[in-house]
């Protein structure tokens, strides 16, 4: 609560500050784009922060699971559209149907691969960061090559449901549809995670485990079962993130996950290890600042993300919402 007020004030200042240099209509468009980008990064970072915070695992394979989610969703969308034409259909119901089926496929495939990666690859190297980096980078190479074998090395065009394309004209301001859908999905995922973490017994044990997993074990809870569950859920979220990113950029490619992973790690560090709210705030900060700066000084866009991380680390080394260990 005490942190909420300064953070809210900071957020409003950050949102309004660019108005000094940007014309209001462009500012609104950039803000929506920034929030959408932030929400897409949040989908990837929220899973990563739990895996990092609870299990102390540096999972570089998270990016490959992002790509697998995108390809699984792409394949299902393509099949459904090819058979029933749901993506090209003007019916919003059909559009929503193909979208939900694609999400289900992305979650299922990334969740399953997450279980496999945790059990086979990660479990033998708990507590050994160097090995975790090496083996999850190795897993990334294998998983990405498998994508190239199955779908080919070239970019694929993502079938975006018809109703998700285009824009709304709100008082002379162009508001793209898909970013609004991305923001909505991000809010739903955030609310779901908060409910799971704060209102369920599983969430309570996971939160305790983020703080001290050894203590959770000596209280009679099989932490490895929770590790596998958290890893799989985190991977599922990466899968959704991959699909959403594919729909956002309207194309997918095998290495797309690795490119987004750096943003996700930055967000996890800014937000604080293990904090879902921290991930959301960090992701929105990165998304908004990236879009504002890209509009004003395009070449400085990536730099501002890193600058933000450095600033947060200097002021709060445990991140905005981190508790430290």
């Amino acid at each position: 609560m005490t942190r909420g007020v300064p953070l809210a004030v900071g957020a409003v200042v950050l949102l309004l500050l660019p108005l000094a240099a940007i014309e209001p209509r462009a500012w609104l468009t950039l803000t929506v784009a920034g929030l959408a980008m932030g929400m897409l990064i949040f989908l990837v970072a929220s899973g990563l922060t739990l895996i990092f915070g609870l299990m102390d695992v540096l999972n570089f394979a998270h990016g490959a699971l992002f790509s697998w989610g995108a390809y699984a969703g792409f394949t299902v969308a393509l099949l459904v559209d090819g058979r029933w034409g749901w993506a090209a259909s003007p019916s919003l119901l059909a559009n929503a149907g193909v979208f939900l089926l694609a999400i289900a496929a992305a979650v299922a495939v990334a969740f399953g691969l997450g279980v496999l990666v945790e059990r086979v690859i990660v479990r033998p190297v708990y507590g050994q960061h160097l090995f975790q980096i090496l083996i999850t980078l190795g897993a990334t190479i294998v998983l990405e090559e498998l994508i190239r074998i199955a779908w080919g090395p070239n970019d694929q065009v993502m079938p975006v449901p018809f109703g998700f394309q285009g824009s709304w004209d709100v008082a002379d301001v162009i508001v793209l549809r898909f970013p609004i859908i991305a923001i909505g999905l991000g809010v739903i995922v955030y609310a779901g995670m908060l409910w799971l973490l704060n209102r369920t017994r599983v969430g309570l044990i996971v939160r305790a485990g983020v703080e001290n997993n050894e203590m959770v074990q000596v209280m009679g809870h099989d932490i490895h079962r929770y590790f596998t569950g958290v890893f799989a859920v985190g991977s599922g979220l990466a899968g959704v993130g991959g699909l959403m990113w594919g729909l956002f950029s309207q194309s997918i490619r095998p290495a797309m996950g690795g490119e987004q992973l750096i943003f996700a790690f930055v967000v996890v560090i800014i937000g604080g290890l293990g904090s879902v709210t921290g991930s959301l705030v960090g992701a929105l900060l990165v998304g908004l600042s990236y879009n504002y700066v890209a509009f004003l000084v395009p070449k400085a866009a990536i730099g501002v993300t890193m600058g933000l991380m450095v600033l947060v680390l200097l002021v709060r080394p445990t991140g905005l919402f981190g508790v430290g260990k």
Partner: protein
């Protein structure tokens, strides 16, 4: 009285360091067994090895006659062994009530009833029930750590240095709480505070350099000035 816990020639290492070098001890049912020894003697490592956090490289640990040294920590806890670690191990960002709920093996009517009894036993915990545990005082944190071990029906309770860093008045409160506990479970207590240990203990083991070097009744150790000077420096 039968032995609840039995360690036979236990060796254990942390990294490259061979800490326990043949610990043997027997804990009688319904008694308080105190582990004494200087800093670095291996008392905490013994507790962690009993709980399965460290796997012994040699020797055996038996609970009620059953070998438990190959079991993971959660399985050992589910046999009815509670653990209050040194430094309390409370979850600072969770509330007092959440700390108690995490400790429950399952949130049943019985465990909620036990939680109500714990809150009755430690009125401060009831008062700060919805406060974050990190904001409690040292003594309150210790009460919470002990309370957590009591929300399940434990038959053996391992308590590691409960009086460390606490004011004398709080230690008195703690002694009263542990005395009440004696009636419910067999207790193994690691304690540097000799006065507290002598008031609570029935049996004692003295550890030195990762070995048990003396065993006997607490009363006989209290009376043996030479032994106290040699191993405990008092």
């Amino acid at each position: 009285m039968s032995d609840v816990l039995e360690l036979e020639g236990v060796h254990a290492s942390i990294g490259q360091h061979h800490i326990l070098q043949g610990v043997s001890l027997r804990v009688r049912s319904d008694a308080v067994t105190v582990l004494l020894g200087r800093n670095g003697a291996g008392k905490t490592t013994t507790m962690r090895t009993i709980m399965g956090v460290l796997r012994p490289s040699r020797g055996s640990v038996r609970f009620e006659g059953r070998p438990i040294h190959a079991l993971p920590p959660h399985a050992i806890a589910r046999l009815g062994i509670g653990y209050v670690p040194e430094g309390q191990g409370i979850f600072a960002t969770l509330t007092v009530e959440e700390n108690l709920r995490v400790a429950m093996l399952a949130e049943s009517a019985e465990s909620r009833e036990r939680m109500r009894r714990v809150l009755g036993l430690f009125p401060d915990l009831e008062r700060f029930r919805v406060a974050r545990a990190g904001t409690l005082s040292g003594g309150q944190k210790q009460m919470l750590a002990i309370g957590r071990a009591l929300v399940n029906p434990v038959r053996l309770l391992l308590v590691d240095e409960p009086s460390k860093g606490l004011a004398p008045i709080v230690v008195e409160h703690l002694i009263a709480a542990l005395k009440a506990l004696k009636r419910e479970a067999t207790v193994v207590l690691v304690e540097q505070n000799f006065a507290m240990a002598s008031r609570l203990g029935d049996d004692c083991y003295v550890m030195d350099d990762g070995r048990t070097v003396h065993s006997g009744s607490m009363a006989s150790l209290v009376a043996d000035a030479a032994l106290k000077r040699r191993y405990l420096g008092i």
